[in-house]
């Protein structure tokens, strides 16, 4: 596969390590009432669609950026690649 890195252009899958569902960005609040349940679901019940899937890839043999890749799991077609840091900030993550 080729991942079209937003800063570097198309790079071979071999340079990357995949983590999985981008939902892992949304780490729950450790002090929430139901933190135990939230963390269980966060870690164990991940999106697994037959179709477009937002997933985290790490450009380990590249610029060390974490990316959010939107990829179709039926065709492997990649429709969007974003810097995970931008996505995380957009989803309200900060300090």
């Amino acid at each position: 596969m080729l991942i079209d890195h937003p800063l570097l252009g198309p790079r071979d899958e071999a340079e990357f390590v995949i983590l999985g569902d981008a939902g892992l960005i949304d780490r729950p609040d450790w002090q929430a009432e139901d933190a135990a349940q939230l963390f269980h679901d966060y870690l164990h019940l991940r999106d697994n669609p037959a179709g477009e899937h937002r997933e985290l890839w790490f450009h380990e043999q590249g610029d060390r950026s974490w990316l959010v890749v939107t990829r179709n799991t039926l065709t492997h077609e990649i429709v969007r690649v974003e810097l995970a840091r931008d996505v995380a900030i957009a989803r309200g993550r900060d300090r």
Binding site: E15, Q61, D63, S65, R85
Partner: protein
């Protein structure tokens, strides 16, 4: 005078060899220091870089020359650059960059982290196409480009510094495996 003195040893022991049209030589005497840009400090960094090295900040994947100490500024990561230069005192390379950039960057000495190998000459790309997944065509990877990638299971930073010339950097501990891989490719395509 201390009782013991430490003599330095380079990762490739000064390797230098020519195969047909291709020359492989360890690039010695270069210091490498990483400079990370503090959050919100991009402007300060740009100013410091201009002041300290007479260079503008390259974008990730590019390198630009500075105007002193033979410096080359490599855009390695969105918030991290490498400065490749001839340090007046290699034992104080990080200090030298600190002095030049001040608080505008967090610096870390990387000089001993990488084996540096210059590969040049006709047939360079024929050799590299057996190793490197990247498109090294003049249009796709001209002079001024730099990339971190993987070759034969090894991390490699490849920097183009000539029509037929590249600087390759690979982790010091596996320098011999790296040299072997490059030698093999060059030997296979030459003669």
């Amino acid at each position: 005078m201390a009782e013991f003195a430490l003599t330095a040893r380079t990762p490739l022991d000064g390797y230098d060899r020519t195969f047909g049209g291709v020359t492989l030589a360890e690039a010695a005497g270069l210091s490498l220091v990483s400079a990370a840009v503090p959050q919100g400090g991009d402007d300060a960094f740009a100013a410091a870089l201009a002041e300290g090295f007479g260079a503008s900040r390259p974008s990730t994947g590019e390198w630009v020359p500075g105007d002193r100490l033979g410096a080359r500024i490599l855009g390695m990561q969105p918030d991290q650059l490498f400065i490749l230069f001839e340090a007046p005192d290699p034992d104080r390379a990080a200090e030298a960059v600190s002095a030049a950039l001040g608080p505008a960057a967090y610096v870390t000495d990387q000089s001993d982290s990488w084996a540096m190998l210059r590969i040049a000459g006709r047939g360079v790309r024929a050799a590299l196409e057996r190793l490197c997944m990247l498109d090294l065509d003049d249009a796709a990877f001209p002079e001024g480009r730099v990339a971190r990638t993987v070759m034969e299971h090894l991390a490699v930073i490849i920097l183009r510094d000539g029509a037929d010339g590249f600087l390759l950097m690979s982790p010091r501990s596996s320098a011999r495996s790296f040299l072997h891989a490059v030698e093999q490719s060059v030997a296979t395509v030459s003669g």
